[in-house]
């Protein structure tokens, strides 16, 4: 029961929610604003995290420049994603993107020499040498923690520092994305969502705008991948299975179509649902073991998806007129 009052625990939940908020912002741009059903969003996260880790461990790049390259790689992947897929109808597009994201995961799983394979990043330089990529990040986090200490005193734990860093980045992402979506550029994306033919009849190059939307959305995915890698200090291909994409879908569907500022709220609701099952420590849940609680969590998430579709397909904060799901 003590966990309910633990600052460390809630810092972790908050930080992970923030990472999912950034991840979902990318999907909100692609799906909510542009109407692209990207079911392979997790691939951008994987590419961000792996690019950074590989460059730091194998090429000895400084963490910060490796991270910038990783974001660029994520965006490039998003742009490349558009080439084979943009001519497809929405449902084919969805299936093809999930297939591509699974291909990325297979690649990470099987190209052991490059990615460390199933053993993840600790195996980046072979089984004999345990590797880490986050030394620079740990010292940065520690300095943030010292700085916070002057403000909040003893509450400034390392997890709390991470929480603050993540949510500052969430805020920055919102401040970048929100004006973009309201700009003329964002209106073109909405026009494409509503009626592609009309947009192209107005002389807008639909494919080019879709490419930009996919690339920028994937950039957010890559940033989320970096933070994920820093938060957990280790990752493996299994972290990037299709389930992660569907978590982002759940967040975006809770938030509502094209609602940028509602995404962090959706992510926090998701974080509460996800961590909430941990506190099912009263009867009858005491009869269940940890694995069964995890399955129960999946059942709850599935039920919420269905309930949203049945009663509020526009999401909690969405407007019915902007509903994309037909």
């Amino acid at each position: 029961m003590s966990q309910i009052f633990s600052l460390d625990f809630w810092s972790l939940v908050g930080a992970v929610s923030g990472i999912y908020a950034i991840f979902s912002l990318g999907l909100q741009l692609q799906f909510g604003v542009t109407g692209l059903l990207n079911f392979g969003h997790v691939a951008s996260m994987a590419i961000g995290a792996y690019t950074m880790a590989i460059l730091v461990v194998k090429e000895h790049l400084p963490l910060w420049s490796a991270s910038l390259v990783a974001i660029a790689a994520g965006m490039l992947f998003g742009a490349a994603l558009s080439l084979p897929t943009l001519r497809l109808r929405t449902d084919y597009f969805a299936i093809t993107t999930i297939a591509i994201s699974e291909t990325v995961r297979y690649f990470a799983l099987n190209e052991q020499a490059l990615t460390g394979g199933a053993l993840g990043t600790s195996n980046l330089e072979g089984p004999t040498k345990v590797t880490e990529y986050n030394a620079d990040w740990v010292s940065f986090q520690a300095s943030v923690q010292r700085w916070l200490h002057d403000i909040v005193g003893r509450y400034s734990e390392s997890d709390f520092a991470m929480l603050v860093i993540v949510w500052v980045i969430v805020l920055l992402c919102l401040l970048v994305l929100s004006p973009m979506v309201r700009s003329p550029w964002g209106r073109v994306l909405r026009a494409i969502r509503e009626d592609e033919d009309a947009a192209s009849a107005l002389g807008k190059r639909v494919a080019w705008y879709k490419l930009q939307s996919l690339a920028i959305g994937a950039g957010f995915g890559a940033i989320a991948g970096l933070l994920y890698a820093f938060e957990f200090q280790f990752f493996s291909p299994d972290d990037f299975d299709p389930l992660t994409t569907f978590y982002a879908w759940l967040i975006v569907l809770i938030a509502g179509t094209a609602r940028i500022w509602a995404v962090p709220v959706g992510a926090l609701i998701f974080g509460l649902i996800f961590s909430g099952t941990r506190f099912f420590n009263f009867k009858p849940f005491t009869y269940l073991d940890a694995a069964q609680l995890a399955y129960l969590r999946m059942i709850i998430i599935g039920a919420i998806l269905i309930a949203l579709m049945a009663w509020r397909p526009q999401g909690i904060f969405g407007k019915r007129e902007e509903m994309v799901l037909e």
Partner: protein, 296 residues
């Protein structure tokens, strides 16, 4: 040459299971307009129903399979009444139904895991019984799988092409409204379609488990993407296309590892091959092999 023949036989084993599963997905999509992401978990349900009958109740494989088909059909019909019909009445369209099916997939898979656990399962069959035909080795489960799957495929094709049921299915796939005007009881037909889909899914799930020798609750989900690839490759909305797509995909996956084919693709890449085929086909012929070009 023997190597190539062996691979083609393996491909036939895989492909006939793909074809059966893909036909199910196509049958749901055509008349019902549901991209059913939970279809993989219908297969898992079938495989586990067969496990229950075969291991817990000690029934033989034939009876276990019949039980799996019936149980999955009951599941499919029950879900029509508690989920799909109410969603349709609420006016849910393709994309809402797609996401609903994702939620359903979570619920089904987690429920199976909840009840049955995450252990690997295997049926009580002799996997070591081999037949050698001119250097090509086929195990007994593989041989049974090919025979059963191909008969089910032919039966399904005949059912769709030659009976009034098949005509009604095709009519609803073209336009549910027009079919209803022409006197087809659409609600009743939808239930019949789910029975067929459930029976096929139960059979396909059992066979998928049989040819893998051991499997867990992710069996169906792991099959889902290759099955969708087969449906799209064959042409969405064409059950015959799905059958062809499944058989073709099985061949491509296996034959790509042939050493005569540029030294052969490393077998660990087999799952990715299906997606590569999918992307190439979509670029070259977006409507699929047997699909009609759409004006949508």
């Amino acid at each position: 040459m023997t190597e190539l023949l062996q691979l083609m036989v393996n491909g036939l084993v895989e492909g006939s299971v793909y074809a059966l599963g893909a036909a199910g997905i196509s049958l749901v999509f055509g008349p019902l307009r549901i991209v059913n992401f939970a279809q993989g978990d219908y297969l898992t349900f079938g495989a586990f129903a067969a496990v229950l009958a075969n291991l817990a109740w000690r029934l033989d494989m034939v009876l276990s399979t019949v039980f799996a088909m019936l149980a999955t059909a009951v599941l499919a019909v029950a879900l029509e009444f508690v989920l799909w019909r109410p969603m349709r009445k609420r006016g849910a369209k393709t994309m809402s139904l797609f996401i609903t099916s994702i939620g359903l997939a979570f619920i089904l898979r987690a429920s199976i895991l909840f009840v049955a656990g995450s252990n690997e399962r295997e049926y009580r069959v002799n996997v070591f019984q081999y037949y050698a035909i001119g250097g090509v080795r086929v195990s007994e489960p593989q041989l049974i799988s090919i025979a059963v799957a191909l008969s089910a495929i032919v039966a399904t094709a005949v059912l769709l092409a030659r009976t009034s049921f098949g005509r009604a299915v095709r009519a609803i796939a073209d336009s549910a409204e027009l079919a209803s005007v022409a006197g087809v009881d659409v609600d009743r037909m939808v239930v019949s379609i789910w029975i067929l889909v459930g029976v096929l899914a139960g059979l396909c799930g059992m066979l998928a488990g049989l040819i893998q020798s051991s499997f867990d609750a992710n069996l169906g989900f792991n099959l889902l993407l290759p099955l969708f690839a087969a449906v799209i490759v064959g042409g969405v909305g064409s059950p015959y296309g799905a059958l062809l797509g499944g058989l073709a995909l099985g061949q491509v996956e296996e034959v790509s590892t042939w050493s005569g084919f540029f030294g052969g693709v490393n077998p660990i890449w087999k799952p990715a091959i299906a997606f590569m085929v999918l992307i190439v086909v979509l670029l070259w012929r977006p409507q699929g092999l047997l699909g009609r070009a759409r004006t949508l």
